[in-house]
Structures are given as C-alpha cells and as structure tokens.
C-alpha cells in the first residue's frame, strides 16, 4: 500500500478517536463537576446519560446559525475553523505508543516538540479573530484578553520545555519518551512540570484562567455571538486542546507509554498506559475547574510575568548548569 493511503487511514481513525474522546470528555466533565457539586450530572439521555453527547450534537446542528450585522462575515465564519484546524493538526505528530517503526504516529517528526509548540500557539488566533470579527463589545474584550493572556503564559510554557530538551538531548517526541525509560522527567524537572501544567490550563482557556470566556463578566467572551455549529466548533476545539495538553504532558513529563511503578513486567501495551495517563490528566483539569475561582485579568498577567517566567528561567539555568558539569 502506498504511504499516503496508510496516512489517510490513520488520520481518519485518529479523527474518529479524538472526536469520540471529545464527546465523552465533555460528558465526563459534566458528570465530575456534578458529583463535586453534589449533583448527579446528566443522566436522562440513555443509561447514565451515555447518549447525552448525541443529544447535544443534534441540538447544536439544529440551532440557527446567526451572524451579527456588524460582524466581518469572512473572518467571523473562518475563526471557528482556525481553532478546530489547529486543535486537530497537532495529532499529526503525537506518537501514541512505542514506535520506532512509526506504527503509532501519523508522522514521526524530528522537531516534534517545536511543531507542537508552534501549532498550539496558533490556536489563540481562532479566539482572537473570532472575538474581533464579531463586531460586538464582549467578544472584543474576550479576544483582547486572549491575546494578552497568551503573551503572558507562552514564554513560561516554552521555557519549561527547554529543561526537558536539555535532559533528553532531542526534540523528537519519540526520543523524549525513550529518554524517560528510567526516570520520568517530572522527577528531575519537577519545577518545569508544575509550570507546564499551570500554563496548560491557560493554553486551553479553562478555569481558573478562562478569562476569554469569563461568563460572569463577559457573557460568553469571544464566542458570545456564535451559535449553533459554529459555537460547537469552538467547543470541540477547547476539549481537543485539553486532550492535546494532556498528551503533551504525558509525553514530555510522565514517560509517555512507559509503564508506571515498575509494572513493565505485565506486558500491557504502551497505548493503554498512555491513555490511562491522559485520562488522569483530563480528570485533573475537571477537578481544577470544580475547585478554583477565576483569576483576575491583571493578576494572571502578573503571575505569568513575575512568577512563571523567572521561575522557568531559573529552572532552565539550574538544569543547564547541572547537565553541563555532571553530564546526563
């Protein structure tokens, strides 16, 4: 079979898996939020509410697709697709299992981590442009916040990766996971790990950094004017981004598909470990959302510039010095 057919099949499978994960991550989030707030969560559609995602999809598809008079029609319509496209294209380079032959990834890119950083940073354009093109005040405030927020956390996030890169000596995601066969990087790079999981919340625009949506202040933030499927696309993008940052955290800091706690003797396929780790991380983000109130706009920026950036820099310098004098 020619390569491009294999890649096409892999992409189709991956797309299905990611979209299904989105649907059930959303249901799981509503369930977990419900339980933590002493509610049962959605349980009316199908057993345990298992068909709720289908009901939601049907609702979103049937809703009217509104475009405000003052909106910039082209960019307004394009913005959700920018969000979705960047959210999905990340999966082109994420390896899901022990690779080498390239079975578990669509493309094994040498500069995989740089590709991830570049693409995930583009995601904010969907938010910024969508809010800007809506021609309405609350979306505009949301998109301005999105831009400022991105500049504040992105530096700390990128710097938190570099410690890992120094330890692994490669930017290939495969290589980084293989370098963690003995020690997962969250042990030697604990500070970097903390910085990443903090900035990852900001990256996905979720509580406590959901300033671009901030429903108590900005109605619904950047997607106030969006309805029906276009809103649905933003919604999918948010959850897929959540999945993405969980994948990245697992790959970079939690040993990817390596078995935890010396359970490697069980011969469980690496994919299972990978999925379990991602599931834990998804739960962690839901847990955070149920617990923490939203940051104030200026405090997020102060936190990004005055805490995350200096600490990440310090972490980088210390790692570099240790590796330079003591070797890997």
């Amino acid at each position: 079979m020619p390569d491009w057919i294999i890649i096409l099949i892999k992409s189709a499978i991956l797309l299905l898996v990611v979209v299904t994960t989105f649907a059930y991550a959303m249901l799981a989030e509503r369930k977990v939020l419900g339980w933590m707030q002493l509610r049962p969560g959605p349980n009316r559609v199908g057993p345990w509410g298992m068909l709720q995602p289908a009901a939601d999809a049907a609702k979103l598809i049937l809703k009217e697709d509104l475009t405000p008079k003052s909106a910039d029609p082209l960019i307004y319509r394009l913005a959700p697709f920018i969000s979705l496209l960047t959210a999905f294209s990340v999966y082109a380079v994420i390896p899901f299992g022990a690779d080498g032959s390239g079975t578990w990834a669509i493309g094994n890119v040498n500069a995989g981590l740089l590709f991830l950083l570049a693409i995930t940073s583009l995601g904010v354009y969907g938010i910024t442009l969508g809010g800007w093109a809506s021609g309405s005040k609350y979306p505009l405030l949301g998109s301005v916040r999105g831009t400022a927020q991105m500049i504040s956390y992105e530096l700390g996030m990128s710097l938190s990766f570099i410690g890992v890169l120094i330890l692994a000596g490669t930017t290939s995601l495969d290589g980084i996971v293989n370098a963690q066969a003995k020690w997962w990087f969250f042990v030697p790079q604990f500070v970097g790990f903390l910085i990443y999981i903090t900035t990852a919340v900001a990256e996905t625009n979720r509580t406590p950094f959901d300033l671009v949506e901030a429903e108590t202040e900005l109605v619904a933030g950047f997607h106030t004017e969006y309805s029906g499927l276009r809103f649905g696309l933003f919604f999918i993008a948010e959850y897929v981004n959540m999945l993405t940052v969980s994948c990245i955290t697992t790959l970079i800091f939690l040993g990817g598909w390596n078995a935890p706690f010396g359970l490697g003797g069980l011969h469980v396929p690496g994919v299972i470990w990978f999925v379990l780790k991602i599931a834990c991380f998804l739960f962690f983000y839901m847990w955070l959302r149920a617990t923490l109130p939203r940051f104030r706009y200026d405090r997020l920026m102060a936190f990004g510039w005055k805490v995350l950036l200096p600490v990440a820099t310090l972490n980088l310098i210390v790692t570099a010095v240790i590796v330079a004098f003591m070797g890997h």
């Binding site: 933590m36 002493l38 049962p40 847990w287 955070l288």
Partner: protein, 198 residues
C-alpha cells in the same frame, strides 16, 4: 514568599474538599420519577368528600367562599328534593368551582367548612396548557362515588396518596413513619374532628 506558599496550601485544601464531595451522598430527588415525601397536611389540590352512604358532604353554605382570602371559590347552592337527595339535610352545592390559579393554598376553606367537605390533598401536579383548565368544578373536585369517601388530612396514613408514584427516601419536615400523629396539633385535631367526620 510565605504568603504564596500559604496560597498553594489553600489550593491543595480546596482540591481535597472537592474530591471528598465527589463521593458524598447526593441529596437530589430525581423528580418526576421519584417524588418528595410531603408533610401529612401538605396543602395541594382540593377535594370534595362524601359520606359513607355516597351522599355529598357539601351543603352549599358558602362559608369556604367567604373565608377564601383570594376569592377563588364560587359556590351556588340549591335545595335538595325528596327525589334527588344530593346531601343530607336541606341544601347542596349545585355548582362548586375553585380557580386554582387564584388559590393561594392557605387552607382557610378547609378550616371554615362545617361538614369537612372541602379538604386539601397532597396532590400538587396541576400543570396545564390553558388557563381555563385551572377552574376546577365539581366534576373534578368531587371524589367519584365508586372511589370511596375521600380522606381527611388527619386520617391519611403516610401523608401522601399511593398513586402519586415512587416516593423518595428523604426525611421530610415531619416524621413520616409516625404519620400525622407525630405532631401535637395533629393529636388534638384528631380527637376534635373525629366527631364531625364520623
């Protein structure tokens, strides 16, 4: 620095609280498949009762209508005749209408009624699409002859009719198992009103 560390502690404490509540017992009653247990004397939809021989209790005296603070009750009385003895004695209610949208469910009609004819039942599901449907006349208020005589509030076994559905296992404001007798006022009323009811 110290304050920041304190904040981290606060976040961890918050996370532990939300995690703990994830496994706590939820107080949700999944209405409508499960219903809350009402107090025995819950003020719901009205009911016109009968005597054991099937005769209507209402004598058309209009005391409920005069007692009603919301002017929700309309009673038009008529004479009983020898051929058509609707209620014991001389008069009965030819028309008896309650506008349940006006009604404030205070129970003053029940208090005013000299023959214990009008009572408030624990039924509360009266939703409808038309305003006209909320004017309940005798055809819906009166207990059907084949359905017995109706239950006085102080005679209700557990405070809720059995046909209302599955009742939630949630403690109400009164002790349900003890029923009406759980309250002191209930005991008094039981002895006071038995005479009339009998």
């Amino acid at each position: 620095m110290r304050k920041n560390l304190y904040n981290v502690g606060a976040i961890l404490r918050g996370l532990s609280i939300t995690f703990k509540y994830m496994f706590a017992k939820r107080p949700t009653i999944e209405y409508p498949s499960v219903k809350k247990q009402h107090a025995p004397r819950f003020h719901g939809l009205h009911e016109l009762r009968r005597y054991g021989d099937g005769k209507e209790r209402c004598i058309g005296c209009e005391l409920c209508s005069s007692a009603c603070p919301a002017n929700a009750i309309t009673v038009i009385g008529a004479e009983n005749t020898a051929e058509d003895q609707v209620s014991p004695g001389e008069r009965h209610a030819a028309r008896y209408e309650i506008d349940e949208l006006r009604c404030i469910f205070c129970g003053m009609c029940e208090e005013a009624c000299p023959t214990d004819a009008i009572v408030l039942t624990p039924r509360f599901e009266m939703a409808d699409y038309r305003r006209g449907a909320f004017i309940y006349s005798k055809d819906r208020l009166l207990v059907p002859a084949e359905a017995g005589v109706g239950t006085a509030p102080d005679e209700r076994p557990n405070g809720i009719p059995s046909d209302l559905g599955h009742v939630a296992d949630v403690k109400s404001t009164v002790d349900i198992t003890a029923g009406y007798g759980a309250t002191h006022r209930g005991e008094i009323l039981k002895t006071e009103r038995r005479g009339l009811a009998g």
